[in-house]
Amino acid sequence: MREPCRIGVDVGGTNTDAVLLRGRSILASHKAPTSADVGTGIVQAIGDVLGRAQIPSRDLAGVMIGTTHFTNAFVEAKHLSRVGVIRLGAPATLSIRPFADWPAHLLDLVGGAAQIVSGGFNYDGRPIGHLDPEELRRIARDFRGRGISAVAISSVFAPVNATQEVEAAQVIQEEIPDVHLTLSHQLGRIGLIERENAAIMNSALLGMAERVVSSFRKALAELGITAPFFVSQNDGTLLSPDSVIRFPVLTFASGPTNSMRGAAFLSNLTDALVMDIGGTTTDVGALVNGFPRESSIAVDIGGVRTNFRMPDLLSIGLGGGSLVVDDGRRVQIGPRSVGFRILSEALVFGGNQLTATDIAVSAGYADIGDRDRVKNLDKRLVARAVDEIHRLAEEALDRMKTSATQAKVVLVGGGSALINRQLAGAAEVIVPTQAGVANAIGAAIAQVSGEVDRIFSYEKLGRAQALEDARTEARSNAVAAGAEPTSVNIVDTEELPLQYLPGGAVRVRVKAVGDLALAGAA
C-alpha cells in the first residue's frame, strides 16, 4: 500500500493555489487568478496538479480547501439570511437585547426578530428559569409567519449546561421543519453576547454554506474525484463538508493560519516565528507546537464582536511594493505601496515608482524584472534602504518574540526576496522552496481537533481530576471530528480562575489535535 495523496487548495481573493502531496513530498503545485465562478477555478487548479504529477484521481485520499467565502460574505454584507434569535435567560439578561452592538447595514440584513424567554443556567448548573415550550412554539410560528427560516438559540451558561438549548431546538424544529438552526453551545466559549453573535452569524450563513459546499462537491465530481473533501478552519484544523454546512463561521480567517501551518511544514519546525511578506504588508506570527499562537483579544468581524480565537498576527507596512522615499535624513519604506500594480509600476517592471523590490534588485540579491533599469540608482541610497528594510523586519520579529532567546524565523510569501541578511534576534532565517504556495500546503496538511471550554469546580473534583476530565473530553471530541485516535495529542491547556468567587471555580480550556484518519489508497 502506498502512502495516500492529498490535495490542498487555497481560494483567496486574488489567487487560487493548489498543491498535490504524497506523504510529505510535494508532487505538483499551481497558482492562478481566482475565477469569478469559484468552482471553475478549483476544477482547473486540481486538474492541473493531477495532470502534471500524472496521478489518477482515484489515488487521492482527500482534498482540503481553504476559502475566504464566508468571511467575505460578512465583511461585504452579501448572501446573508435574516435570523430569528431566541435567548434563554429571562429574567436575567434583559438589559442587553440581542443585536445590541451590530452595525446598521448588517442589522438591516440579518436583524429584526429577537426574543428573550425564560431559561438559562447559573455557573454552578442551577437553572435560572425553566423553558416554556408553548412560548417557544408561539415565537417559532411568528418567525415562520414572517418568512424567517434561520434561527439562533443562545442560553446563559450554555457551555456549562446545554440541555435547554437542545430542548428548545426540538420545539423549533417541530414548528419550522426546514429551519437553519445554530445553538450557541455548539460554538463554545464563555461570554453570552459574543457567543450569541457567533451563533447569529453562523445561522445567517447557513443558506450560503449549502450552496458553497455543493459547488465544491460539483467541482470534484466533474474531476471524477470520489475521495472525501474538507474545509480548513481558523485554528489550522479541518471541517467535514457536513460540519461546514452546519458551522460555516468556523472557517473565518483560516487564510493566515494555513500560511503559517504551511511554513511549519516546509521548514520542519514546530516552534518558530513566521514572516509572510506580501506586496503591501508583512504578517508576523508565532508557531507554538506547530500551531499559530492565538490572540486573546475579542475579534470584530465586519463590525460584530465575537470571541473566536484568531491567530495573533502583527502586520506592518513592509512589502515588495512598498514605496521608498528619501527625505535626506532617513529613508522611509512603506507603509504606502503600489500593491498589485507592482507588475506595471515598479522600476524593474518599466514603471516609475521606486519600490522595495527595486532596492533588492539594485543591491544585487534579488533577481526580479529587468535589472538594467535599476543599475544607476544611487549606491548610498540603496545601501541605506536595504538597512531600513532589515531594521523594519527585525523590529517586527522582536515585537512578536516572547523571550530574549533567539528564535528560528521562516520566511514565506512573494516578498521574501527582500530579506538577504541574518536578522538580529533570529537564530536562523529559513526560506523554504515552494514558499509561495504555503497557504495551500497549510490546507493540505491540516489536522482535526476537539475542544473543551467549561467551568470546573476544583474544590469538588480536585484540580488533577478536573483537568483529566477536560482532556479526556477534548480527545474524544477530536476523534468524533475524524481524528485517528492514536495520533491525538493535547496541544493546549488553559486555566482561568474565576475572580471574586470562593469555591475554586475555574474556567478550563483544552484543545486536542490529531491526524485525519484517511483511508489509504489501494
Binding site: 438589559s95 518574540k401 516572547t402 475572580q499 471574586y500
Partner: protein
Amino acid sequence: MKIQLEHVADLARGAAILGTGGGGDPYLGALMLRQALQDHGPVDLIDVTSLADSDFAVPFAMMGAPTVLVEKIPNGNEMGAALNAMERLHNEKARAILCAEIGGLNALLPIVLAARAGLPIVDGDGMGRAFPQLQMVTYHIYGVPAAPMVMTDEYSNTVTFQCASSLDVERLGRQVVVAMGGSSNICLYPMHGADAKRSIVRSTLSLALGLGRTIRESRRSSGDPFGALLGYLRTTPYYQHCRVLFEGKTVDLLRETKAGWALGQVVVEGTGDCRGRRLEVQFQNEHLIAREGSQVRAVVPDLIALLDSATAEPITTEALKYGQRIKVLGISAAPIMRSEAALAVFGPQAFGLDHPFTPVEILNP
C-alpha cells in the same frame, strides 16, 4: 451636562484605564448603558456641590465575578429593586445616584440605574480607580457606614445587611453573592449630601470621559495617543503626576487564585528606551506595585495602568498574556486617597506589601 449615547464609548474606555487592570471589562456596562439611554433618555451629570446637605443619595455597584457577569447579564429591574428597598429602609426618596467605583464596569452601571430611575448621577466616586473590596472606598474612610446594604438578584430577591462594620458587610455579602449565582446588585453606603461632599472623590466621571475622548481624538488626529493622554492627565486636579514608567513586552505571567482573588505578576522586558531592563507588576485583581529590581516605580493607591503600546487601549489582568507590547503608566491618586486614614484601608500594607506608600512623583522625579 447630560450623559448621552455619544458619550458611552469614551466613558467606557476612560473607566477601563482607571480600572488599573481590574474592575471588569466595561464593554457590557457600555451595552447596558446604551440600551438604558435609548429606552429612558439622557442622564443629568451633576456636581456634588449641587446636592443639598439633606438630599438622600445612594451608591450602586455590582458585586461578584466578571466571568459570571459576561453570561448572566442583569435585567435592570433588580437595580431599581435594590434602590427601592434602600429607600424604604431609610423612609426617604433618593435625589441622586452615586458611583462607588470609577474603575471598570462599575463606573457605568450606576448611570444605568440613574437612567432607569430618572435620577441624576453625581460626578465622582468612592475609589478614584478600582479596588477589590467594599470597604476600600473613601465613603468608609471618611465615616459613612456601609450598612445597611441591600443586595438583589435577577428575581429581585432582596437581602438586607445590617452590620456592625463595613468589613462585616464585605465578609457576609461575599457569601450571599455566591448563593445568588456569583453576581449581585448592591446599594450601600447610603448617605446625605453633606456626607457625599465630605467623602467623595470628586469629578471622576468627567475625568473618565475626558480620558476616553482624548484617546479617541488623538487616534484620529496626531496618532500619538500617549502624548495626548499625558497632556490631558496633567491638566486634571488629581492625576497630574503621570509618567510612562516603562515600555516593553510581557515575557512572563504568573497567575494563581486564592480565596477568590486573582493574584499574580507580570514581567515586562524593556524595548525601545527601556531595552535591557525589566519591570515586574504584581496584581490582586488590580495592579498593586511596579518594581524594577529592588526599586519601586509605583505603588497602590497610585494608579498603575497597562496599555497597548500602539493604540493606548487598556489591558485588564484577565486579558494579559505572553508577548503583548505594552506601556506602563504610573498616575497619582487623588489627595483624598493618600491621607493616612485612606492608606490604612487601601495603602500597600492593606495588600500585604511591605513597601511604604511613596507617591509616584517622588519615586520618579
